[in-house]
Symmetry: C2
């Protein structure tokens, strides 16, 4: 049994809806309708040392990353984060470590005007963080099942950098010093896309954050929307210098840990999206389009290429940090 | 640094309020106001194997207990649980275990019409559950700081049974077979007090669930309300057969893990409360009263007795399961 079979078998069956619960399990967040112009989006994420971050990672990095991971769910819903609950388990309470952790944690919260409204703390054998985040918007969240045939497929930021940094950590490759610096920065400090996605929410059909790998996360949109896609490998934004490495395709197609947003939007909205991205200084690239055929076809230099490796599954990969 | 210093230093400073956030960190749940007659109460709890339950505990027991712990926060707010998010980490996904776990989990949710609206799953070295629960009521939740001088102090159910069962598990004592059966049932299957507390919410001033020990949890109410109390040891409801054990006072005063509710209410409401409890078949006992003096005075046979042991702290006790 893998992670997605687990979700389908045990979590999704309870996925009823009602007048308030407009969207339950199976998207980046659930959506609760307060009234006709106020919607709350809520999601939860657990991060465990040596799984989602290295145990010896700096407390700044762990604090920032744990928030970025959760904020990206809000970005993918086109929601603005408002409230947050934090549960933590530590082997012991180390004041120096905690001072630094909460300094960063509270700085990030403050910069988005997000309030910590609940928490729990306990002792555990390994550092474990669980964040529940609630965001707000004036509409139903950007859902995975809203991709329309003919939509352009867009990606924010650059893809594959975090995965390249991890491969370096795992000694699978040896990045040049300046390459590693850029990739490591992307891994520990993914840019939060909340502002852009909130502003662009009415220009977008379907959206999803890229946590498990671009192809797998795009796959969630395609499956939910019952459509296919044609993706141009050479248009996926990354770093030129990484292309020389044998793992490049793995990194950009399956790397995961990017916490960028992949979304589909009507062709007519291209100009507005590009303009909005330029104003917000957000790198935005079109990587393909949504098709009627329910397959995801990968193109390279106008030829169909095959690519079989799957994206990340928390219970199947051998890797220890992701 | 202990658990409460941690909460005070790192979590509470961000405890601002606004027109929507009426109550932040520091109570059983935060309260968000949707409109004048609709309030949502939200809280989060992390449970870790060998800390909050035995690793070899049955999946039914773990499922039930993880929900009871969270429902008791809603009961203590006088709120009705509505939505729930579940994050889980397991060493591996064991289908047989999960089938039983989710069978119980979903049965309990269904019996309260609570919907699972979000989740996360990952691999971790030890079974870890994090639940975030959202409840609803037509008023501000029952807060810890609302105890009034002259209020009666009430306790639901029976206290100290779970602690006695734990002492038996730890081989600190040897309960008789029939005593252990009753105490173990209280430990693994604490009765959920949501119904009674929701019905009684307008008769009550301050409330708190008893998770860390009666004296410590009452202490939270007294400190927050800047009042004191006189508690009669012999009126604390427990099992007669337990009184012969040397640890009896520890169990009822500091045992914790009871997940019963301690609350204060105006003397005038006694009749209504007793009548409501009788209708709902909820054992309800008056154990003392709120005083102007800010101390908590413990009485036994009309004499003041001193009792020094503190309640449970997740980072200070040597015990491994609580």
């Amino acid at each position: 049994m893998n992670e997605f079979e687990f979700i389908n078998q045990y979590l999704k069956p309870s996925n009823e809806r009602d007048d308030t619960l407009l969207l339950g399990i199976g998207d980046d967040a659930a959506t609760l309708k307060l009234n006709t112009h106020q919607f709350w989006h809520i999601s939860t994420d657990m991060l465990i040392a040596d799984r989602h971050f290295f145990s010896n990672e700096s407390p700044e990095n762990i604090a920032y990353k744990s928030l970025a991971v959760n904020f990206s769910d809000m970005a993918a819903m086109g929601a603005w984060p408002k409230w947050l609950l934090l549960s933590v388990a530590f082997p012991q309470l180390d004041k120096d470590w905690l001072d630094i952790f909460f300094n960063t944690f509270n700085q990030v919260l403050a910069s988005y005007h997000v309030k910590l409204i609940g928490g729990d703390t306990t002792q555990g054998p390994i550092t474990t963080l669980n964040i529940t985040i609630i965001g707000e918007s004036d509409r139903l969240g950007l859902q995975r099942n809203d991709a329309q045939i003919g939509d352009d497929i867009w990606v924010t930021g650059q893809i594959g950098l975090a995965a390249a940094a991890l491969y370096h950590h795992w000694d699978k490759i040896n990045l040049h010093e300046d390459e590693f610096k850029i990739c490591e920065q992307a891994r520990v400090h993914p840019t939060i896309r909340v502002d852009f996605m909130f502003q662009a929410r009415n220009l977008i059909h379907a959206a999803q954050d890229i946590s498990d790998g671009l192809l797998q996360d795009l796959g969630h949109i395609l499956t939910a929307s019952q459509v296919g896609a044609k993706v141009n490998l050479e248009t996926i934004p990354s770093i030129q210098a990484l292309k020389k490495y044998e793992y490049y395709n793995d990194w950009v197609l399956n790397g995961g840990d990017d916490y960028e947003i992949i979304f589909t939007a009507p062709k007519n909205n291209q100009e507005k999206l590009v303009s909005l991205a330029r104003e917000a200084s957000v790198p935005l690239h079109k990587i393909g389009e949504v098709t009627k055929n329910t397959e995801c076809i990968l193109m390279c230099n106008d030829k169909i290429v095959s690519y079989s490796k799957k994206g990340f599954d928390h219970f199947e990969e051998e890797t220890t940090v992701y």
